[in-house]
Each structure stands twice: as structure tokens, then as C-alpha cells.
Symmetry: C2
Subunit: 480 residues, 2 copies
């Protein structure tokens, strides 16, 4: 059987080659496939269903804060992209250009959106007139294109799916408030739904978004100790408003510029889920985001009554509000177990003739492989409770991993030693000088991830690089 053959080729162990392990999991859990378009991927049903769950929950949380969805064109005329100087410098080198429509050359080139600040600004310039029109809190779900040279599934691809929120406010304070509100919404979402702890912080000047006044970020730690920027929220101040002429009449009938924000989360998060929770048997999905939470696997299903009872069990789990499927294919139970494990389904329920006789079934956790025997009529309640426990345990373990992979350093010697020998975040003081930031990157390949928002205590009082007095605490790390 072609299907089985594929599964026999075991995935590479993550301790041997983490990068290869990642690629193997992505392929064997059937999340993506490569396409004929270089650097672009096909997101298969198992991968897309995770994205749908992310969308559903994020969208609900957005709307609770007053966000409305819209859709902007996918093309940006070259002249529009150029209106904000820093922005075009940041993006022009990596956009795809449309030069022909049908058989004719276009009068002006269009780029495929790498992000849509310029389109939203162009729209807001006409749409916003009075203070009554504010705030505008718009979001769109779409795909964007960035012509990356090296690509990796989910982490960096030429086209990816995301949401981009773009808001306009009457005051600078309100814009800053919204920027942080969305950062915390992202962080809470990652921690509560993806069971993925994050550090909430602010980017340095060097690392901030092209055209932003301030960029905030959530940084997650992967299993191999590398950081993954998992979501960003930008405060633009009135920079774009001035470049695009977005003004409103205030209550005193005076013209004022709006203050803007933008914020985005992408399919990259699926990569993060894999690298935070996965193991050597494949994907491990947090129950909250798992498209299938429980897989019922009948044992000796050819025996009379087994399939009927298994189907009945599945229905009772469904009634308990669980996303459940039954694997009644003609593969062996062993194969079905490995498939369920590879795909990261949080619980499998085994049910064979002996179990039926005893009125029991066996629940096996994907994350710990722990078994629970329970009475058939209690399976729904037990599984629902177990899903909650798994979710909590997965977060706890990821949090412990994060905590045990943070190294505080005071000197440059310690810094370099930590980069080499202690995978994870490095907490170190920084004088604020971009030259130190550049030097650290050059010497160690570690970059400044963020300056944490929560009042963390200083590690020392001098810059870990140059030794000058320093007040800024920075999380550093190698990053994806």
C-alpha cells in the first residue's frame, strides 16, 4: 500500500537534525506539499484546517474589540508604494511586479501586496473626514507576497496567508493603546489557544517595521532554542498620515492628522506549533487548535459489533462537543496509531472486543502517551476533561522549556559563551547604540529579539557588548 510505504520511512530524529525533522513532520503529517511555483507551498487539508481554527478564534477576538473586516485590492501601483519613504525602501527589493495585463504592457507597474499599509492609507485619505469617522478599525484576511531567496514551509515562503489590521485614531494615545491591545490579544491567543508562551516586547530601532514609529512583537522559543517572531503590532504615529494626507476635522473644526497602527499574524504560527510541541513521532497539536481532537480506532474491527460500537462511541464524543473522527479504514491498528501520532491528534480512543465486553475503552494521550481506561458511557466527559488537561500540560511544559532556556549574561565573554553553548534567549543589558547591536549580530549571529514590556529586573548596569552604562534590558537570540 503506497500510503503505508510512505509512513515506514521514519522521520529524522529532532536531536540528529532539527531542520530535517521539521521538514519531515511538515510533509508526513500532510500539512503542506511543495508546488511547481518556486518558494510557494500547497497547504493541504490537515494544514489548512489548523489555519481555519486559528482564523475562527482570532477573528472572534478581533470583533470583540470592535474590528471590522474589509478587502483591499491585491495590487499596489508603484507610485502608491513609493509615497512613504522608509516603507518603500523596506519592501521594494522583495516585491513581485506585474507588468502586463492580458496582451498589453501596463502604463504603470503594479506590485503584488507585500503588506497593505499604502492601500489602507490611500483609502482612509478619502474615507475619513470628520472626528465622527474615527476610529477606523479594519482588518483583512488575505495572502501576501514577498520575493524571498531562501524559503521554508510556513516559516518563510514567497506567498503566505495572514491577517493585517489597520486602524486610524484621533489621538496618539489611542493609537498606542490599540497597538498594545492587539499585541496582548496576540500573546493571549498564543498562550491560551496554541499553548505557546511568548515574550512580549518592543523592537529596537534597527529591527522595527519599515515606516513605523514603534514595533511591538511576541517572541516564542522553539524546541531547538531558536526564537520565532510570532506576531507584530506597529504604531505609525502620524507618519503615514502625513505622507498620504489623512486628515480629519476635529470638534473645534480644525484639521488634524490621524494616528495609525497595523498588526499581523501569519501561517508562520503553524510552524511555531510544530517546533514548540512536536516530538520524534511527529506533530503534537494543542487540543484547542486541533482540527480533530480525538480519533477513535477500533481494534479487530472485522469482529461482529466492534465497528457499530466504535461508531456509537464516536457519536457520544461528538455529543460531548468534541471534534472526533473514526478511522475505520482497512489498515492495521498499528498503522492507525502511527498515523494518529504523526498527525498530532491529541487523544486516540482504542476499542476492541475485550474492551466492549468489559464496557470500557482506552484513551491514549498523544503528548505523554499515558493511558486512561474509562467506562464507555463516561467517555465523552472523560475525554473532554482530558483535552483540557492536555492543553494545560502542554502550555506548562512549553513554559518550563522557555524558562530553562533563558540565560542572563553580564559581559561580552558570557554573551558569546551563551550563544555557543546555551541555546535559547539571552537576557543582557544594552546601551542603546546600534553599533553594539550590529557587532553582536556580526560576531554571534544572535539578534535583538525585543525589549520586554513587563518590568523585568536589570541583569547588570552596563552594556554586555561595550561596557558603557546601560538601562535597556534586551532579549537576544538566534532566530528563524
Amino acid at each position: 500500500m503506497a500510503k503505508d510505504k510512505k509512513l515506514v520511512e521514519a522521520i529524522t530524529s529532532m536531536d540528529v537534525d532539527f531542520a530535517q525533522w521539521y521538514t519531515d513532520v511538515v510533509k508526513k503529517a500532510e500539512l503542506i506539499d511543495y508546488s511547481s511555483v518556486k518558494g510557494c507551498m500547497v497547504i493541504k487539508p490537515a494544514g489548512y484546517a489548523i489555519w481555519e481554527n486559528i482564523q475562527k478564534e482570532l477573528d472572534r477576538r478581533f470583533k470583540e474589540t470592535g474590528v471590522e473586516n474589509v478587502y483591499m485590492p491585491m495590487f499596489i501601483p508603484e507610485s502608491l508604494l513609493q509615497k512613504e519613504k522608509d516603507h518603500v525602501e523596506g519592501f521594494a527589493p522583495e516585491v513581485a511586479w506585474v507588468t502586463h495585463g492580458g496582451l498589453n504592457q501596463l502604463q504603470e507597474r503594479l506590485c503584488v501586496r507585500p503588506t497593505s499599509e499604502t492601500l489602507f492609507c490611500d483609502f482612509y485619505a478619502n474615507d475619513i473626514q470628520s472626528y465622527r469617522d474615527l476610529p477606523k478599525c479594519y482588518n483583512q484576511w488575505c495572502s501576501v507576497v514577498r520575493w524571498e531567496k531562501e524559503t521554508r514551509p510556513f516559516l518563510r515562503s514567497r506567498e503566505f496567508l495572514w491577517q493585517e489590521g489597520h486602524t486610524a485614531h484621533a489621538t496618539a494615545e489611542e493609537a498606542e493603546e490599540r497597538t498594545l491591545q492587539m499585541l496582548h490579544l496576540y500573546a493571549d491567543f498564543c498562550e491560551e489557544v496554541l499553548a505557546m508562551p511568548v515574550v512580549r516586547g518592543r523592537k529596537t530601532e534597527k529591527e522595527k517595521f519599515a515606516g513605523a514609529k514603534a514595533t511591538y512583537t511576541i517572541e516564542a522559543l522553539m524546541h531547538d532554542g531558536k526564537a520565532l517572531q510570532s506576531g507584530t503590532s506597529h504604531n505609525f504615529g502620524d507618519g503615514f498620515a502625513k505622507a498620504f494626507g489623512i486628515q480629519y476635522t476635529d470638534k473645534d473644526n480644525k484639521l488634524q492628522y490621524v494616528h495609525q497602527t497595523s498588526w499581523g499574524l501569519t501561517t508562520r504560527l503553524i510552524g511555531a506549533i510544530i517546533m514548540v510541541h512536536g516530538d520524534n513521532s511527529g506533530l503534537v497539536l494543542p487540543p484547542e487548535v486541533a482540527p480533530v481532537q480525538v480519533m477513535v480506532i477500533p481494534i479487530q474491527q472485522h469482529k461482529e459489533g466492534v465497528l457499530d460500537k466504535a461508531t456509537e462511541l464516536m457519536e457520544s464524543l461528538k455529543d460531548a462537543g468534541i471534534r472526533v473522527k473514526i478511522d475505520d479504514s482497512d489498515k492495521s491498528p498499528g498503522w492507525k496509531f502511527s498515523e494518529q501520532e504523526m498527525r498530532g491528534i491529541p487523544i486516540r480512543v482504542e476499542l476492541g472486543p475485550k474492551d466492549i465486553e468489559a464496557g470500557n475503552c482506552v484513551l491514549v494521550r498523544r503528548d505523554t502517551r499515558e493511558k486512561t481506561v474509562c467506562q464507555l458511557q463516561e467517555a465523552g466527559a472523560v475525554a473532554a476533561e482530558l483535552l483540557k488537561t492536555i492543553q494545560k500540560d502542554m502550555f506548562r511544559r512549553a513554559k518550563e522549556h522557555q524558562k530553562s532556556h533563558i540565560t542572563d549574561v553580564a559581559s561580552y565573554g558570557e554573551f558569546k559563551d551563551a550563544v555557543e553553548h546555551k541555546p535559547g534567549f539571552i537576557r543582557a543589558m544594552w546601551c542603546g547604540d546600534v553599533e553594539c547591536e550590529n557587532k553582536i549580530k556580526e560576531d554571534t549571529t544572535a539578534t535583538s529579539r525585543c525589549m520586554p514590556l513587563e518590568g523585568e529586573e536589570a541583569v547588570s548596569d552596563v552594556c554586555a557588548c561595550c561596557g558603557k552604562p546601560a538601562h535597556k534590558l534586551v532579549y537576544w537570540g538566534k532566530a528563524y
Copy 2:
């Protein structure tokens, strides 16, 4: 107030200029805005929320039939587009070409997908190996680009949103069955959710999709008597499979080609809703698809207790499962009424001091303007019931309009007379010769819309154009 000024400019009457009426409604109901990208539109919150409701319900119905969502790249390499001859001929003249990525010219041009048959086929060629892999029933929600010369909001734009389903089956019968299943799913959706009656039929050879063996269509009748193709479902037979080498090993270990289908619905449907149900006060939304079903409008809201009571009323409607909002802005009730009417919100509930004193509120239907007075504590149940009635009545009226705009003709004289004087569908027999089809189009601008699926009785026994014996009954009409 800028907002009010906009509304004062009344929309053009549909009897004076239907096209202008349409454009006015689209703009004044704030469904779209024009963008700086020629031929592309900005879908604003009120428009996008309709699309979200369409998506939610269609997606649910798709999944019930076993469809899974995926995501394919938005680019198609030129060589891939060219693999199926009829298909490339149909689409090449109207695609947008990406020629540069970043600062470099691409080795091979990429077109922005006008539709994704070629990408799905390329994927299926690798993904399908055995009969165990079949059927594949995949769908994607995305935007596509067709470089149209003349564009109109929702009806024809260079970029539009849609879903495209692509399936692969072991047998020709199964493919035909899926093609028709999706056609009926579309038709039922339009009739049940959009209150829009459709004719289900098959396209002639001339009008079928580029590369299809058979194209089925649902055709709706707009208020002005023009037809709108509202959804299509194609059976490709094994044509694409042969062009792309999509083969599977059957149970007897023999190689076989798969049989494929594709089917799509677009944001064009929003245009159909406007033109089927709208009136001279603006949009009229069927309750099932209306983002806001009821708008509570307080009267003399400055008086003590009015706003509190109105908010309480809103909450009780929400508890009854109704999508409800309250308009507590500082505009006059009159303005609020026109806004609610312009936006097509199915019911408004008026509540003023006198109503409160009597323990009543007033429900006003958008479609008929009929008023119902009901007790406050019954408002939820009454409104829920009224929404159902409105949905039913809207379908009934649209169905009556459709019925009264079908003209049966037996001769070419009658045909031409009907095109000129009787807006709507023309039912006429056709010999099957493309020359008659071309002649009719040239003489009258009417095109063959479809050959109805349901056993309708023949209108005569000769072709309305050439007079030769004819067995095919065809719906003809001017179309958008």
C-alpha cells in the same frame, strides 16, 4: 454633518436609470469604494460582512458533502497554464503577468491565477496514486484576477473573491454526480439563503468553460429583466487528467485516468442580491444573509429612560438569536430610518417614550414597510418570526417576478419582439447549431443562458431561429 450631506443626495430611481441606481446603491449602502487600482474595488465592512455570511453558510454546506479546504499558490507558471490547450486559449488573453521578483527578471513569467485548474491538476498528478486516494474533494477560498476591460462593482472586476472547488474521481459517473450535486447545492443556497430563484441548466457548447466537457449553471433574473450567471459547475471528464497525467492504480492494479470537476461562486452574488431585491430606497437584504437583521432606533433618546429601555430591548432581541444593533448616534430618527433603509436592514424597531409608556415597540419591515406593534416582552419572538416571514415573502416575490418575465416564443419574429419589448428570459427551441446561436446574439444581443435541467415541456418543435426541427429547449436573455 458630512454623513448627512452624503445621504441627502438621493439615489437615482431604478426606473429612470437602472445602471446608475445600481452604482448609487453600491456606494451609498457603503458596500464598496473605488480604489486607486483601476478595475479593482475596496470591499467595505457592510459589503464584506455579507460575503462572510455567504462564506459561512456555503462552507458549512460544502463540508457536509465531504469537501475539505486547501490553499494553492496564487501564481501559475506560464508553462503550466499552457498544458491544457482549450483552457489556456480561454484564459491567456485576460491574465495579469508577473515578470519581476524583487530586482530580478524571472526566468519564466507567472500569471496571477484567473482560476486554479492547472495548479490543482499539477498537485493531483503527484498526490493521487491509488484508488484509495480517491475521491479528492478540495475547495479553496481566495481571490482571482481577470484583466477585464470594462468593470462594474461586484459584477465584473479585475480582482474578485470566490471559492473554487476541484474534485477528482475514479469514474465518469461519480464526476457527473458531483458536478450536479454542487449545482443543486448552489441553487438551493441561492433560493434558501439569498431568496433568489434560479434556473438550473446546462450551457451550450459555445458558452461552456474553457476545457470543460460540460458546464452547468444557475441563472438568476435581475429586476431589470437581465440574466445573471450566478454560479457554475463543470465536468471535465478526463481531459485535464490526460493533459496533466493524473492517473491512479485501480483495484485490479491497472492505471486509469481520473475524472474531474470544478465549481465556483463569487462576490458577484452580492451584485445579484442588490439587483433582485433592491428598491428605490436602497438595498433590501434577505434576513438569512443580512449582517444586521434588526436595527433598534430610539425616538427622543434624550428623554430619561429611553436609551436604557432601547438597550434592554436590543439585549432581549440578541437573546432571541437575532443579529441586532442599536443606533444611538446623535442623528435624527429620520436620518437613522433612511440609513437603515439604504443599508437594507430587514427590520427596524422604533421605541419612544409613548411606546415605553404603553409597554410596546413598533417593528417596521424593510421590504414592505409594514408596521407591527408588539409588547416589549414579546419583541424577540415576534421579530424572529417576522424575519422568517420576510425571507419567505422575498423569495415569493422574486419568484413571481421571474415567472412573469419568461416569454415563450416559437418564431424568430416573436423572438426579436420579445427581446425588444419583454425584458426577461425567453424560452425558445434550438436546433443545436452554433450558427443559430451566433445569429441570435448578433441580431439581438441575447445569449443562450442554459438548457434547463428539469423536464420542461417543449415550446414548439422547430428552432426559433432557422425553423429546422429542434429538440433543445433553451433559456435566452440579455445578460450581465
